[in-house]
């Protein structure tokens, strides 16, 4: 089949599937049928994506555009498909992780009511459609459209258990924060069009070389990235988003959707790179997020929250790498992170499925009950900690190397690497080592094949993906990585091992109270518990927004409308006063008519 057709199918097929599972009641009411349909569709998408990846590797490049909106008889906005070295790997990542997650969900959510499951898979298909449309975008405008649609899917899937008030709040919060970032994104899009008259990737690349964009425009665009990829201070929605089912967290809030921000940075790297100042700001925000989120993760007790902050932190790495000019490092880390973080989430889901609790202190000793899960989670931990041989080692090393020229950032990056190893090690040790600390943990059981199968595949990828750094660089045309063991690599490795060691030391079976927060992290714990950022948002919503709304609502009812009503009152009272004139007797009315007639005639006579 022609690449154009394949590309179109990759995007449209999931949408069709969503239509079938969502609109045909027969399918929607049979959740397993919908799930099977959806999984098969996304597997088909995966196959097509792989074919496309092969073709892109062979140097094929496809760009197709159709008009979306006109302006003055010409094209204003376009909708298009673009296959090149950058979009092809992302297509595969998205459909691969989506396929694994959907298959996993079939088992993980099998106890859900059939109706809800139909809805669940509809939203999943919709998400795959939106994400693929985002990846194949030919221009900023289309990317924005798909960008908001994935946000919508995130909202819908976080709110999957809508009857839970906390889920509802988390979903709405995610949407609001994303909408805030997207508002900035939208302004940036408009400013771009005002300046360059185009949103097309290639055209923009050519034009920014001639006239670079202002820092404001670039940073506004970056604000979209900040909300989507959970960069400080717009990260607040991501930890709350864990209210959704675990597979959703794996797909959207770890592997793919949150990575869309980084994808945007890579896709439009020339635009960002055209303004060095903005790029520096981006780097600092990224590295701060990495450190901040890693520190927060160290004191979390909910396994999903640990993973959420870890995602935040890793995204911070990627953003910082782009800020330092390392777009390849960022993109490569995005890819490997997608595999091992999805793996970690799915493994965490497996634990939760067995233990029926998210709390790490309530686990322990799971090694004896869930051997396969332990191995898989362990692979994930080693990968994210950056132990040689695992994919995370290669990609994280690339990232840290990019930061070498900025000493402070580099040091923070290394520190974060150590912290990452520590908190992931802590989570692993708390969950699997030692003795069971609750009934749930004591009666845990291994998950079925539908759940472990996808995890195994992801684990394999989490191990081997790192060896593809060079082919990846050739494919994407970003830069030659020239991978070699450097000082940075050795330092990172030492810190990672130190972190794992510390985790064993403080939280291992030998520790007095494995779940306690060690003394040196007490200030962090206190700060996290204070929740300053969340409280600031709470304040700006409750006091500023609702307060303003209340004031304006009052003004409208009693002042603006009050004045209108005052007219009405005057008319009423005036009418009452004039009422005596209306006698109701016909001759009186005739007389009034005559008086009017005489007046008119007199006026006519004098005037004419």
């Amino acid at each position: 089949m022609k690449s154009q057709a394949l590309l179109l199918l990759v995007v449209v097929l999931p949408a069709l599937c969503a239509g079938v599972t969502g609109l045909i009641p027969y399918v929607r009411r049979r959740g397993m049928l919908a799930g099977t349909l959806s999984s098969l569709t996304v597997l088909a998408t995966l196959v097509m994506s792989l074919v496309l990846l092969g073709r892109a590797n062979g140097g094929e490049k496809v760009i197709v555009n159709v008009q979306w909106m006109p302006e003055a008889g010409k094209t204003l906005a376009e909708f298009g498909l673009r296959l090149d070295g950058i979009s092809a790997p992302m297509l595969v990542v998205v459909s691969l992780v989506a396929a694994m997650v959907q298959i996993y969900s079939l088992s993980y959510l099998h106890e859900e009511p059939s109706e809800s499951l139909g809805r669940y898979f509809t939203w999943h298909s919709l998400f795959v459609f939106s994400m693929q449309a985002l990846v194949v975008s030919t221009n900023l405008m289309q990317l924005f459209g798909a960008w908001e649609l994935v946000g919508l899917c995130s909202y819908l899937l976080i709110g999957y258990w809508w009857a839970k008030p906390s889920a509802g709040k988390a979903a709405v919060k995610a949407f609001w924060v994303n909408k805030f970032g997207d508002a900035a994104f939208l302004i940036a899009i408009i400013l771009f069009h005002a300046q360059y008259k185009t949103w097309d990737i290639d055209a923009l690349e050519n034009q920014v070389r001639v006239t670079p964009p202002g820092a404001l425009v670039v940073l506004l665009l970056f604000m979209g990235v900040m909300s989507k990829s959970a960069q400080f201070p717009l990260h607040v929605w991501l930890p709350d988003a864990m209210e959704g089912p675990t597979p959703v967290s794996a797909l959207l809030h770890a592997a793919t959707m949150v990575a869309a921000g980084v994808y945007l940075l890579v896709r439009f790297f020339p635009v960002f790179a055209a303004n060095a100042d903005a790029l520096t700001v981006i780097m600092y925000i990224g590295i701060f997020t990495a450190l901040f989120a890693a520190l927060t993760a160290t004191v979390q007790t909910d396994v999903k929250k640990v993973l959420a902050y870890s995602t935040c932190s890793q995204l911070g790495y990627m953003v910082a790498a782009v800020g330092a000019g390392g777009k390849l490092a960022a993109y490569f880390h995005l890819t490997t992170h997608a595999f091992f973080k999805a793996l970690l989430f799915l493994a965490a889901g497996s634990i939760i499925h067995g233990v029926h609790s998210n709390e790490l202190p309530a686990m322990g000793g799971l090694w004896k009950k869930m051997k396969l899960t332990t191995v898989l989670f362990g692979i994930g931990v080693l990968a994210i900690a950056g132990i040689p041989g695992f994919s995370g080692f290669f990609s994280k090393d690339l990232v840290l190397e990019q930061l070498e020229h900025h000493t402070v950032v580099w040091v923070v990056g290394l520190l974060t690497a150590g912290l990452t190893a520590y908190y992931m090690g802590k989570a692993f040790v708390l969950a699997f080592a030692g003795e069971a600390r609750s009934d749930g943990a004591a009666h845990a059981h291994e998950s079925g094949l539908l759940m472990t199968g996808p995890m195994v595949l992801l684990a394999v990828l989490a191990v081997v993906a790192g060896f593809f750094a060079n082919p990846f660089a050739r494919l994407t045309h970003l830069a030659e990585p020239g991978f070699h063991l450097t000082t940075t690599g050795i330092l990172a490795l030492v810190l990672a091992l130190g972190g794992l060691g510390a985790a064993w030391l403080f939280h291992g079976p030998r520790a007095k109270d494995p779940a306690a927060v060690p003394g040196f992290l007490a200030p962090v714990d206190a700060l996290v518990k204070a929740g300053l950022v969340d409280r600031f948002y709470e304040w700006s919503y409750r006091v500023v927004m609702l307060g303003l709304a209340k004031i304006i609502g009052w003004v409208d009812r009693y002042l603006v409308d009050g004045v209108m009503n005052l007219f009405g009152w005057v008319a009423l009272e005036g009418g009452a006063a004039l009422r005596v004139v209306q006698t109701g007797r016909a001759p009186d009315y005739v007389f009034a008519v005559v008086v009017g007639l005489v007046a008119l005639m007199a006026w006519g006579y004098v005037g004419g």
């Binding site: 001759p587 007389f591 005559v594 008086v595 007639l597 005489v598 005639m601 007199a602 006579y605």
Partner: protein, 165 residues
Amino acid sequence: MSWLPMVPFALLASALLACAWCVVTSDDLVHSVLWLALTLVVTAGVYVQLQAEFIAAVQVLLYAGGVAVLMIFAVLLTKRLTGERIPHESGNRVRAALASLSVFGLLTAFILRMPASYAQPAQRSATKVLGERFLVDYALPFEVLSVLLVATMIGAIVIARKEDA
């Protein structure tokens, strides 16, 4: 001898005005109706003088005949039922006189300001012209009018009919 044709007109006009005055001032309603009938007949005379014989005929037949008879019926009917005579309301007379006089004054002022014109002598039969008007130019209104008259009759019957009849 331009004043000569004025003589019959002046006679007719003064008769007409006198009758009209009696219509509005007569105490007895029956008298009023009779005066009105007379007024209408005299008006027909005016039409004749204007060489509009057909209208004069209609005026006498339809108006003075039909309407006056109808009115008499009504007056007698209501009088018999109530057995009382409703007096004028004298308090409004001044007001009414002022109003009608000022209307008359203003109308007169307008009329006197007009350029003088005269009724054209009939070249053809005025009735024939009228017929053409009705059956050619105003055919549609003419037909509509007949519908209206039917509707009026039905309406009148509905309104005046006894509830239980």
